[in-house]
């Protein structure tokens, strides 16, 4: 397994990119060149220099510090939004596969209904309803993830339930939740891991889009999407500021997608990844 992983070049690239993002976030927890929220640490719109590696923004804040702290924000959004999807969606999906019948039918309708709204539209409506902010945008993305994981785990679990051993376990008098945890969950784990990686990437993209629209993370906390929004309005003065946050988003998403595809190849090449955005 390890040898195969080491030979899988795009998987390795994914590991490196995701590792960079995590490293940036961890380092920025204890050290940044300047306080990321502090204004006038340099002149406004200063170009790249030794003092300010990526220059400064319109308030004279250090852009490099803000970009690496922005990684914390993206990782937090991804972890929580995917976590919500897993914790709520997977039990729902497995239950639907276990009980079938009306429960399955109702869940299927709810999932269809969620997908009837474009994800960005749902997120915009939710943040407009509950007020813009990091927590609400995470919830908005999380709700969408619930539907994704419910569908994926239902599909995967159905296949497992179709096999011999869960029926045997049931006949032996094992409880349904016991079977779900001991037999079903381990067997759908690879599907969930791969899907979680992809959803992580989608969550980062969605949060950036929401922040760009002004509904996401609020100042002074740096977020890549909000940095792009600010930079766009200043692009006639200094266009370089519109580059760095975008590169950061693209690299993070690229890394996660490569990681997800690589994991699928390594864990179970026949897995179908579910992509909705």
């Amino acid at each position: 397994m390890l040898r195969r992983a080491l030979q899988h070049r795009s998987f390795l690239l994914g590991v490196i990119l995701v590792g960079l993002m995590v490293a940036a976030a961890l380092i920025s927890l204890i050290w940044t060149p300047y306080a990321p929220e502090r204004m006038r640490v340099g002149p406004p719109f200063a170009g790249p220099s030794w003092a300010h590696w990526l220059g400064t923004d319109s308030f004279g804040r250090d852009t490099f510090s803000r970009v690496i702290v922005g990684a914390q924000n993206s990782i937090m959004v991804g972890v929580v939004a995917v976590g919500i999807g897993l914790i709520v969606g997977v039990p729902l999906g497995i239950a639907a596969a276990a009980y079938r019948g009306w429960w399955d039918e109702v869940l299927g309708r709810m999932v269809d209904l969620t997908f009837a709204f474009p994800a960005i539209l749902t997120a915009v409506m939710i943040t407009a309803l509950m007020g813009p902010g990091a927590v609400n945008s995470i919830l908005a993305i999380g709700i969408f993830n619930i539907a994704v994981f419910a569908r994926v785990s239902r599909g995967a679990a159905l296949q497992v339930y179709g096999r011999e051993f869960p029926r045997a376990a049931l006949a032996l008098g094992r409880g349904r939740s016991d079977i779900a945890i001991r037999h079903i969950l381990p067997n759908i784990a690879s599907a969930l891991i791969v899907q979680a990686t992809i959803q992580f990437a989608i969550a980062i993209l969605a949060e950036a889009a929401l922040s760009y629209l002004g509904f996401g993370t609020q100042p002074p906390h740096p977020s890549w999407g909000k940095m792009l929004l600010d930079a766009q309005s200043m692009m006639w003065i200094d266009w370089t500021q519109a580059i760095y946050p975008g590169v950061a988003i693209a690299l993070a998403v690229l890394g996660l997608n490569l990681l997800g595809d690589g994991l699928r190849d390594l864990l179970d090449p026949r897995l179908r990844v579910f992509r909705v955005g």
Binding site: F117, Q232, A250, V253
Partner: protein
């Protein structure tokens, strides 16, 4: 098959109805009074109450919901709080931007993606294939709104050959289309990336089929096989994806219209949310949902027509 389609259609109607109920309930609890917003900071409470009554906001929620749905059935969408003009007219006007934008993006992404995917499949595991797959990975990873900003930086700020905004179709077809080129490109990138990948795998799968090998054995050239046999059959899965992508492109237009300041449906919706123009919000959201569901239905119908095996909903 007909009963399958009929069932799917009923589901479609049910989904749209449920969507309308959700939107309505959400707007019931959203903070912000549209009457107050319209009248501004100096208006007295009596004037505000009177305006609320004029807007019909003083009636019970159930009555308003039933009224709205009844109106929808007769294509009467009510009147915008903000502009005091019919919502149907507003939406129709905005669709003249959003639909061409989505269509253009669809055409661009299809024209890029299908040749790329075929090329990659034909050169499987060679440099060309890796090149296409790299493009695909990058295309998926680059956020479309950032790509839009980059296009603006290059073509509108640096070279100044394109403008942002939309001149209107009465300025001529060319001016209108020109204004949609950059937004359509921004919107198309991600979809082209996905479609190229799907085309590649669909073509690869078809090439494994027996009749393709037979055709090749009969001495047809690689190119002939590719166009006559492989593409024709691979087009079935590809076209369903293209259908699904149309819905995604419509959704993507929400943010792209914001980036390029295009007066389309997405911009109308974002603006209406800011203005608490419930009339516009609820109709626009349901329209988006209905379009998505309807496109899915069409894709299902197409699939059912091609593949007669019974399907589960």
């Amino acid at each position: 098959m007909l009963s399958f389609l009929a069932r799917r259609f009923l589901t479609l109607v049910g989904t749209v109805l449920a969507a309308s109920l959700i939107v309505f309930l959400v707007l019931e609890v959203v903070p912000g009074d549209p009457a107050l917003l319209q009248l501004g900071i100096e208006a007295s409470q009596e004037v505000v109450d009177q305006r609320r009554a004029e807007m019909g906001l003083d009636r019970p929620a159930v009555v308003r919901y039933v009224d709205w749905i009844a109106g929808l059935l007769t294509l009467d969408f009510g009147s915008s709080f903000t502009y005091e003009t019919p919502v149907g007219q507003l939406i129709a006007q905005r669709l003249t931007v959003t639909l061409p934008l989505a269509c253009m993006a669809l055409v661009v992404s299809t024209l890029i993606a299908i040749p790329l995917g075929m090329f990659a499949a034909a050169n499987r595991n060679r440099a060309g294939d890796y090149g296409v797959m790299t493009f695909s990975q990058i295309g998926v990873a680059v956020p479309n709104f950032w790509f839009g900003i980059l296009l603006i930086l290059l073509f509108a700020v640096h070279w100044q050959v394109f403008d942002t905004g939309f001149p209107g179709w009465d300025e001529g077809l060319f001016a209108g289309l020109k204004a949609l080129v950059l937004p359509a490109a921004a919107l198309a990138l991600g979809e082209a990336a996905i479609l190229a990948r799907i085309t590649r795998s669909a073509v690869l799968e078809t090439m494994r089929e027996d009749y393709v090998r037979t055709a090749r054995a009969k001495g047809l050239s690689r190119w002939q096989v590719m166009t006559r046999h492989v593409l024709r059959n691979a087009l079935i899965p590809i076209s369903t994806i293209v259908g699904l992508q149309f819905a995604l492109l419509l959704a993507g237009s929400i943010i792209i219209e914001e980036v390029f300041q295009l007066p389309g449906l997405g911009k109308l919706l974002i603006q209406a949310i800011g203005q608490r123009d419930f009339q516009v919000i609820k109709n626009a959201v349901v329209l988006f949902a209905a379009l998505v569901v309807f496109v899915n239905f069409l894709v299902d119908a197409l699939y059912a027509a091609i593949d007669p095996r019974p399907k589960q909903a």
